[in-house]
């Protein structure tokens, strides 16, 4: 657990002339369960979207497993916030999970029987096999989140980047997701999760990044998730200089 799988150096991101992230230096430990916490507008989503190259930073560099090329993104499973896909699209749960396999397919090639087996296994892990033929618009919030986590599992990535996966879901799904995260950590995966409930950070994660435009603190939960750091992040408006 000692290697850094993601290193961010001097990252600055701005929307027009408004800085969203300011001078970020951050290392994410390999095989960790890292939470990213911070008040609204702290730049949590912006940061992970920048890591996923969905937002172009003003300056700075991000290395993922030592690489900076676009191809490295295929080793990351990104679970977006709930609102970000077309929910009325005519597609079934199994289809969505199968999309996780597209990452390994390249242009034109279709997923084969083996991909389907992997997708079905992922559905089983997320206890969604009974919903495989449901259209995604028929799912509840928790079921949607499970379907998307199943897609991430089917992708068989090394790193999982999740944007508020526990937002607005039932407690059964929450427990299931946390269990699955723990299992996958044992298989050597790394998790970076934007998280909004401060009271569960210690229980669910082993590392934490406390963010408010800039990194207030980062490291093992026991060491840095202190009253003082949290207060600094949630009290301060604007940018620390």
């Amino acid at each position: 657990m000692e290697e850094d799988i993601i290193t961010i150096r001097d990252l600055n991101v701005a929307y027009q002339d408004k800085p969203a992230l300011w001078h970020i230096n951050l290392d994410i430990k390999e095989n960790s369960r890292t939470a990213i916490v911070g008040p609204n507008g702290a730049g949590k989503s912006t940061m992970i979207k920048t890591v996923m190259k969905l937002i172009r930073p003003v300056s700075g560099n991000i290395k993922i497993a030592g690489r900076t090329d676009k191809g490295v993104l295929k080793t990351i499973a990104y679970v977006p916030q709930k609102g970000e896909v077309n929910w009325d699209f005519p597609t079934t749960v199994l289809d969505v999970v199968l999309m996780g396999r597209y990452v390994h397919k390249g242009w034109i090639k279709r997923p084969n029987r083996k991909d389907k087996e992997i997708a079905l296994k992922a559905l089983k892990t997320m206890k969604m096999e009974a919903f495989r033929d449901r259209q995604i618009s028929e799912l509840s919030g928790g079921q949607r989140q499970r379907a998307f986590l199943a897609r991430a599992i089917a992708q068989d990535a090394d790193i999982y980047v999740m944007d508020e996966p526990l937002q607005g879901i039932d407690i059964t799904t929450e427990n299931l997701i946390i269990d699955v995260i723990r299992q996958l950590q044992e298989d050597g995966k790394t998790f970076i999760v934007v998280h909004h409930q401060l009271n569960t950070v210690k229980e669910y994660f082993d590392h934490v990044v406390i963010l408010n435009k800039t990194v207030i603190a980062s490291g093992p939960v026991d060491a840095v998730f202190t009253e003082e750091n949290i207060e600094t992040a949630y009290r301060e408006k604007g940018i620390r200089t």
Binding site: M52, K53, L54, K70, G71, L73, K74, I76, Y78, P80, E84, V85, N86, F89, P90, T91, T92, D95, V96, M99, Y102, V103, K105, G106, W107, I108, K109, R110, P111, D133, Q135
Partner: protein, 363 residues
């Protein structure tokens, strides 16, 4: 005259196979814009080549089609103007430019506005071409090739089309360029629109792009079924439009467009999730909920023996409805009636027990 039907059907298939993706991406109005602005390309190329059959007309028209998409993107990306407004602005401006050019410089040329808008598919067989020794309508030949290209594109890039339409961010991460797919799609839409509008008129082109896909959308759970069903509806609309148009001596393009609305409405109203069934379902749910509430009331302490008046007072029920509900409950043995009082049967007791569990009420 069967050739007219063939032209119509091939056009319907070539457009509807792409229409699915236009509808799912919310591009119906962009299609509307393209099928008008291509006229500017046609007019400009015509002025240069002075030949109404020149292939440059199709090329220029397609370029203007793509340009339309690009300018709309550009205007709406400023975020100062919403996309629908951007479409309204770009579309009318480019179309108007074409009209000005036509009216100014080519009053005596075959670029008739009525034909442009409404089309005259019955004239399609007059313009013929020799292919492998067979004489076939030019439009049929062109559109058959376009149908093959469009169907080939959808078949080959099905996975990419699906992914970029459904979740463009994930497509990017998975290494598929959503922009590339988008512009290829819109190029094909432009080329198809040019060839199709020459054959059937721009109103029917728009209709073919949008209506069959929308109708199919009401019925399906899978993208592949939506594509097949959309093509089926396009063919049904064409055949009906052709038969009625010819039978009653009406504009075939006009009738076909109108039929498309009729088939849409029929599916909208009568499909399993449609308007009629929704109404019936919600009515049934309301009734069964009221009956459950009557049983629940009788299950409460102090209410085990109720008179008719007590129940109607409690539920705000009309006489007729009350009779209907009570008859249902009596026949199904949930309650029994003795000297003017209703009481729960054993079955009724059981039912209220399960209802409490179902609604998570204290037992």
């Amino acid at each position: 005259m069967i050739e007219v039907l063939l032209v119509l059907v091939v056009t319907a298939l070539a457009t509807s196979v792409l229409g699915v993706f236009l509808v799912l991406r919310g591009l119906s109005m962009t299609t509307d814009a393209i099928s008008h602005t291509i006229l500017l390309g046609i007019v400009l190329a015509f002025f240069i080549t002075n030949d109404i059959r020149s292939p440059w007309l199709i090329i220029a028209a397609s370029i203007v089609g793509i340009l339309t998409v690009y300018i709309i993107e550009l205007v709406s990306r400023t975020q100062l103007v919403r996309q629908d407004a951007a479409i309204g602005l770009v579309f009318t401006a480019l179309f108007a430019a074409a009209i000005i050019l036509i009216s100014k410089y080519s009053g005596n040329v075959h670029l008739d506005m009525d034909v442009v808008l409404m089309g005259e598919v019955i004239f399609a067989p007059f313009n013929r071409i020799e292919v492998l020794g067979f004489s076939i309508p030019n439009a049929l030949w062109q559109l058959s090739i376009i149908l093959l290209v469009n169907a080939g594109f959808v078949a080959l890039f099905y996975k990419e089309l699906k992914l970029t339409t459904f979740d463009s961010k994930f497509a990017f991460i998975a290494g598929f360029s959503a922009t590339f797919i988008y512009y290829v799609l819109m190029t094909l839409v432009s080329v198809t629109a040019v060839a199709a509008f020459d054959a059937v008129g721009s109103i029917l082109v728009i209709n073919f792009f949008v209506a069959p896909a929308l109708t199919a959308y009401l019925l399906v759970r899978r993208l592949s079924s939506m594509i097949w069903l959309s093509m089926l509806f396009a063919v049904i609309n064409s055949v009906l439009g052709y038969l009625i148009g010819f039978g009653y001596d009406l504009s075939v393009a006009g009738v076909t467009s109108f039929i498309a609305l009729v088939t849409f409405m029929i599916v909208f109203i009568f499909n399993p999730d449609g308007w009629v069934n929704n109404k019936i379902r919600s009515m049934k749910q309301k009734h069964s909920f009221t009956r459950a509430m009557i049983l629940m009331l009788m299950n409460e302490r102090g209410h085990t023996r109720l008179t008719e008046r007590e129940i109607t007072a409690h539920f705000n029920l009309g006489r007729k409805q009350f009779d209907k509900h009570m008859e249902y409950l009596l026949i199904n043995d949930y309650i029994e009636k003795a000297d003017g009082h209703y009481t729960l049967t054993e079955r009724g007791e059981e039912y209220t027990h399960y209802t409490r569990i179902k609604y998570e009420l204290p037992i």
